[in-house]
């Protein structure tokens, strides 16, 4: 499984923090691999809608997360702004951000 993600926006535009990042679960230890696979399954990631039509009205300085998961010939991209209302997706983002 290959996970690509990128965060943009926020209170300031930091070029170093908005770089795209990639994690291949084959490169992870067994515990970390199981952890992210469980989080993606709990979030029902492949069932989440991809569509995103901009930040909610009036929201300013919020971050936007773009996550793509490729697994067994399937690829799915989800894009969401803060605040992350989906607890499952929020847990995935927390895991990814911790590896920044």
């Amino acid at each position: 499984m290959r996970i690509s993600w990128k965060e943009s926006g926020g209170l300031a535009a930091f070029p170093g923090l908005s770089r795209p990042r990639t994690v291949d679960t084959d490169d992870l230890g067994p515990d970390a691999r199981r952890e992210i696979e469980d989080l993606l399954a709990a979030a029902h990631f492949f069932e989440l809608t991809a569509a995103y039509n901009g930040a909610p009205t009036g929201t300013r300085d919020a971050r936007t997360y773009t996550i793509t998961v490729e697994d067994g010939g399937h690829s799915h991209t989800v894009r969401r702004p803060d605040p992350l209302e989906d607890a499952g997706l929020a847990a995935v983002v927390r895991w990814l951000r911790a590896r920044r």
């Binding site: 943009s8 926006g9 926020g10 209170l11 300031a12 535009a13 930091f14 070029p15 170093g16 923090l17 908005s18 930040a55 909610p56 009205t57 009036g58 929201t59 300013r60 300085d61 919020a62 971050r63 803060d82 605040p83 992350l84 209302e85 607890a87 929020a90 927390r94 951000r97």
Partner: protein, 349 residues
């Protein structure tokens, strides 16, 4: 004042009834109440009664209504109430800083511009602290402020910077007034206005003149070990940080270096450096407290009905010169300082 009010058109009377001193407000309302058109309809009179109640509130009755919530390191908003105007006892540094910062911002807008909160109608000021887990950001969600704790490696807690609190709340003011769209040049103006007023909130709190101010945004936020001084520099855009993890501050200081990008809503936090510097140059040229003249000109511009929500830098610059003329005279030192500042950042007005 009463006689004076009588010869004023209704829209000016209504303005005075909202924004004048207590005695001016009472006179304006009395005058409006005797106006022929108002006596014609009961409905209008009832509306006036409602607005009069607010307008007649004495200065001592107008004060901030703050509530701080604890997000408990989750993402659900607003969280649990931990402080308000009747219960402020707390050992939590973030709660204290958010409470004081919201109050300082309210004070600035009320005492300098006679603005009663974000919407000028006493909107309650809400903020959530401890949002997310080591969350490296603060934002305005259209209704309230949200503060992360920072990760301690790149960023400190986001409540520790007063100009950032002023920045976020000013997004609410801009949304209530000019409502500049959050994309490209109007988006960068939206961001710049938040920096301009956020910086003035800090300067006002510290009693600083323009030449004493650091003109930095978020000077307290970068953790020790980060190579940088702040998130942005208004006086020298592009110089705030150059760090292996954060990258280099991408802000331009002049239109010739304008950054064309699809990132960051078309560079709203990047190209805001240009109008930021124009304000800074204006304030430094005029001297004294930035809020007295430069701030007043910018404030009247964001309230200017001639400012479109899609305004470009040049259109905004043009309105600042017009408003400086309205306030101080079209050939005044102030109007010339504003035009000179825009010309120095590459925008001809």
């Amino acid at each position: 004042m009463h006689t004076c009010c009588f010869i004023l058109p209704p829209h000016l009377l209504r303005h005075i009834s909202k924004n004048g001193s207590p005695s001016q407000r009472k006179s304006a309302i009395d005058t409006l109440a005797t106006d022929h058109t108002i006596r014609l309809t009961r409905a209008t009179y009832q509306l006036l009664e409602a607005s009069a109640h607010q307008a007649l509130m004495s200065a001592s009755e107008i004060h901030e209504q703050r509530t701080i919530f604890d997000g408990g390191h989750g993402e659900a908003l607003p969280g649990k109430v931990v402080a308000n105007e009747t219960s402020t006892t707390t050992d939590d540094q973030c709660v204290r800083e958010a409470f004081v910062g919201l109050g300082a911002t309210f004070d600035f807008y009320y005492k300098v511009f006679n603005r009663n909160s974000i919407d000028d109608e006493g909107l309650h000021l809400d903020g959530t602290v401890h949002y997310g887990n080591n969350y490296d950001n603060a934002f305005w969600n259209g209704q309230q402020m949200v503060f992360g704790d920072g990760d301690g490696e790149l960023f400190n807690r986001f409540t520790c910077s007063l100009d950032v609190i002023g920045h976020e709340l000013t997004h609410g003011v801009t949304g209530d007034e000019a409502n500049l769209i959050y994309l490209g040049q109007p988006g960068a103006l939206n961001e710049s206005i938040s920096d301009v007023f956020g910086s003035m909130v800090k300067q006002y709190k510290l009693g600083q003149t323009a030449d004493q101010a650091d003109w930095l945004i978020g000077a307290e936020l970068l953790a020790s070990g980060v190579t940088g001084v702040a998130l942005r520099s208004m006086v020298e855009p592009g110089s705030a940080y150059d760090d292996p993890r954060l990258g280099k501050d991408p802000q331009p200081a002049d239109m010739k270096d304008y950054v064309h990008t699809n990132e960051d809503n078309g560079g709203v936090h990047i190209n805001s450096g240009i109008p930021n510097r124009a304000f800074c140059l204006t304030a430094l040229a005029l001297g004294g407290h930035s809020w007295d003249k430069a701030g007043r000109i910018w404030y009247e511009t964001i309230r200017d009905k001639g400012l479109k929500k899609t305004s470009s830098f040049r259109q905004f610059a043009h309105r600042t010169v017009i408003n400086a003329g309205h306030l101080y005279g079209s050939g005044s030192v102030e109007a010339k300082a504003v035009a000179d500042a825009w010309n120095q950042v590459g925008i001809r007005v």
